[in-house]
Subunit: 487 residues, 2 copies
């Protein structure tokens, strides 16, 4: 679209459609979106007609319509000018900007939104923030090549509404991947592709929670967006303590019907659910007719000895829904996750997905399927595991070395972050006051808690910071704490 | 991964990680996903060690673990064999395959899923199915080029969780597009990107419906997935009749608080909501503190005289949520739609989106933003409008010519389908019996209705069928009806 006069117009070829109508609409759009500013003069009709190569009558009738609609103001003996549409636009929002708790037009659930999108913090590129993997080591060239291939194949395929549960190639690839990487026993039919892990939790919450009735156990501290998904579905939340063996299964109230847990790498403390607790949790679920949601958000990155079996692998009774994501193993904006669901619930779950958004976008699904199928995911995870391991060791050195007087690392064997308790709770405020300056992006464990946490602690992400930078930052942090003394 | 012996293995380089553990996991995965079939013999440990170039002890300890776990069965004096894991897998589903209405583990809403993903019909590539645009005229080369560009830019950007409301470039592009194409008055801030129109309805239903309380008016007949989204949110549905002026506004019950409507091109009858009704609808909403959801799913394709203003354009009081989609103007598997929301509800709406799936995938968002920004969407819509117009005329000729004794076309000025009433309801069963053979993909209007519809009718899509094919099909259909006689 090239500018004609002061305004951008692209009239159709002669003989195609109604020119007056087209001109009217394009002018109106330009006025509405501000390309034609209020008060600016339109060219005279004769002048416009000549420049556009159309009949003057055509321009006259387009102008007349605009005047009738109030978009253009005629002036006696002078060129017509653009009306002040912004004033009209402002009248659209007579209500206060946020609906507010008293606005009965909204579902009470959302009148005071309990989950606010995280405000983007001003963090340096290299920092200790949680849950973001490193883009510098991603095989962008491979992804680009597979994208081009997928797009070429797709250009030969007729358009359609693809299956809600995901395209067959991706479900197949995911089934093989989780069998391989996590010993999760499943076939393609068990897999439902979701728009990230968050959609998985949201769909499961809607499926499994009877509003106002179902009691759902969540880890405390735990990942807030998962809690929000259950709360939004009307669950009665039961926050469960977490200790060095993970979720305290003994504390589960008898009437809990859904238990959401991060067994590989508790979010945020990083502990693994012990084998004893895993068995106890499955026993509990079996006896109470309850369901377990296994959130394995970064379990691909394991550094310790032989990993514990996934709950899904141990389950023989269709009690476990396994939720995985590619946000940590690949990248978050891919927005692809999945549920491995027991057979009895699959049809209903696909219905929820169908109702929520029909299906996930398929071009990205195809690229991801090819990426997994050709072994790139496995290779990338193996390569990143070595890189993250080095960072993890640097972090551990700092925590056990210079920071040892103040911090006590919490044992963990997997994932992209590690946590530590503050030894002397009385020093916590002073330590947190120095945190962002020296260890930007690190978070207080309390940010993950619904209630006040007993022991203050800090989580350190190592997804986007190099080992050397970790060493330097932790040494400086320790130096800044030296003035506090230690316990 | 290349096959070694009978099974696929890719062991890491020497010195990286624990080889026994790696071997154990890879074998277990191969057993779980069926690459190693039940009953097949594992190679002897000595043989395996030699072939893989690793110590025999490594193989022995991997085999021992598999035996302890029951994945492999040792045999006295013979090679160990793979256990029958399928039998174990089957034990996972002791419950019936579908949960069934009595399964208290599910939210009652989903025990009998009311929205089933449409079973893929066996339809020829060229057919009269509704709502699918034509892939043959899509500028795949441009899309591919913009994808490659977006991926190159993205490869230089650090990974992050993008904004829930959509990336800025796309919101900006959409705002300009709807101002231009539909005279919808909005700026980028008013736009929320969704995963298709279905997610827009789902988010709005969750935001605006207080479960068990809010009464929602839907068109009858109307688009079933929209109805399902409101029902799933716990709405009390009020099906409203549709006549030649569209939704019968006079029939709206006083206690309706949300009205979902397709004013440009009613789904499925195709009629446009008259200007009189538009004003009456906005008056109703203003007086009752109700909200209007304007579903403009294929309003870009307009063929008639001057189009009626969108409800959003007429609204001065923040009553209208405008829902658009690229499923018809571009392609359905893109899975991108949007809401133009009044300012008072925007924050809450973004919270619902954040809870539902955090955000939509960003690579596709970038490509779409570039596609709109560079004018390709406007050009594509203009090109397709001419193509669809020809098909529409062929359809109209058939309905007014050979099919006139049996069918009466319903006037419509927009979209990708047209509908006709059956003149003599008594002939309807015989006509439907002949429909799929001659006009495959055409649907009974009754498929869109909650209740029995008064006048039987047929919808004809022309998104994926050429004008010539339409002419031939309709002539043959008419010939097959000739034996029925006419009214």
């Amino acid at each position: 679209m090239e500018p004609v006069f002061q305004f951008p117009l692209a009239l159709p070829e002669r003989g195609q459609g109604n020119l007056a109508q087209e001109l009217h609409q394009q002018l109106r759009s330009a006025i509405l979106d501000g390309r034609l500013a209020a008060g600016s003069a339109l060219p005279a009709t004769r002048q416009a007609a000549a420049a556009l190569g159309i009949a003057r009558n055509t321009v006259v009738s387009a102008y007349d319509l605009l005047i009738a609609e109030g978009y253009v103001v005629p002036r006696q003996g002078a060129k017509a000018v653009v009306a002040d549409v912004a004033a009209r636009r402002d009248r659209r929002g007579p209500k206060p900007l946020s609906a507010g708790p008293e606005d009965t037009r909204l579902n009470p659930m959302w009148r005071t939104p309990f989950l606010r999108p995280e405000a983007p913090r001003q963090l340096p590129e290299r920092c200790f923030r949680l849950g973001i993997p490193d883009h510098r080591h991603f095989p962008h060239d491979i992804w680009r090549r597979l994208s081009a291939q997928s797009l070429r194949t797709w250009s030969k395929t007729r358009f359609s509404y693809p299956p809600s549960e995901g395209i067959a190639e991706l479900r197949e690839a995911i089934a093989q991947h989780v069998a391989f990487a996590r010993a999760v026993a499943c076939v393609a039919d068990d897999v439902i592709v979701t728009s990230g892990a968050q959609q998985a939790f949201d769909l499961l919450a809607r499926l499994l929670v009877t509003p106002g009735q179902t009691r759902v156990a969540v880890e405390e501290p735990g990942y807030p967006p998962v809690r929000a998904a259950f709360a939004a579905a009307g669950a009665r939340l039961a926050p469960m303590p977490v200790d060095e063996e993970g979720l305290c299964v003994d504390a589960l109230p008898d009437d809990v019907r859904v238990i959401s847990v991060t067994p590989s790498h508790q979010s945020p403390t990083g502990v693994a659910l012990s084998m004893r607790r895993r068995r106890a949790l499955l026993d509990f679920a079996r006896q109470r007719n309850a369901i377990v949601i296994e959130d394995d958000y970064d379990g691909e990155f394991r550094f310790g000895g032989r990993p514990l079996d996934a709950l899904q692998t141990l389950d023989r009774d269709g009690l476990v829904f396994y939720v995985g994501t590619f946000s940590k193993s690949l990248f978050p904006s891919l927005r692809k996750g999945f549920i491995v669901a027991p057979a009895w619930a699959r049809d209903a779950l696909i219905s929820v997905k169908h109702c929520a958004d029909s299906h996930s976008d398929t071009i990205t699904q195809s690229v991801l399927a090819a990426f997994i199928r050709d072994g790139h995911l496995a290779r990338h995870v193996r390569r990143m595991r070595a890189i993250y391991q080095e960072r993890r060791e640097a972090l551990m050195e700092g925590l056990r070395g210079p920071l040892a007087p103040w911090l006590q690392p919490i044992p963990c064997e997997a994932g992209l972050h590690m946590a530590a308790h503050i030894r002397d709770p009385e020093l916590a405020p002073a330590i947190f006051a120095r945190l962002q300056r020296h260890v930007p992006g690190a978070q207080s464990i309390a940010e993950y808690a619904m209630t006040t946490s007993e022991r203050p602690g800090i989580t350190f992400g190592y997804g986007v910071i190099d080992a050397d930078e970790i060493r330097i930052a932790l040494r400086r942090f320790a130096a800044s704490l030296a003035e506090l003394g230690a316990r």
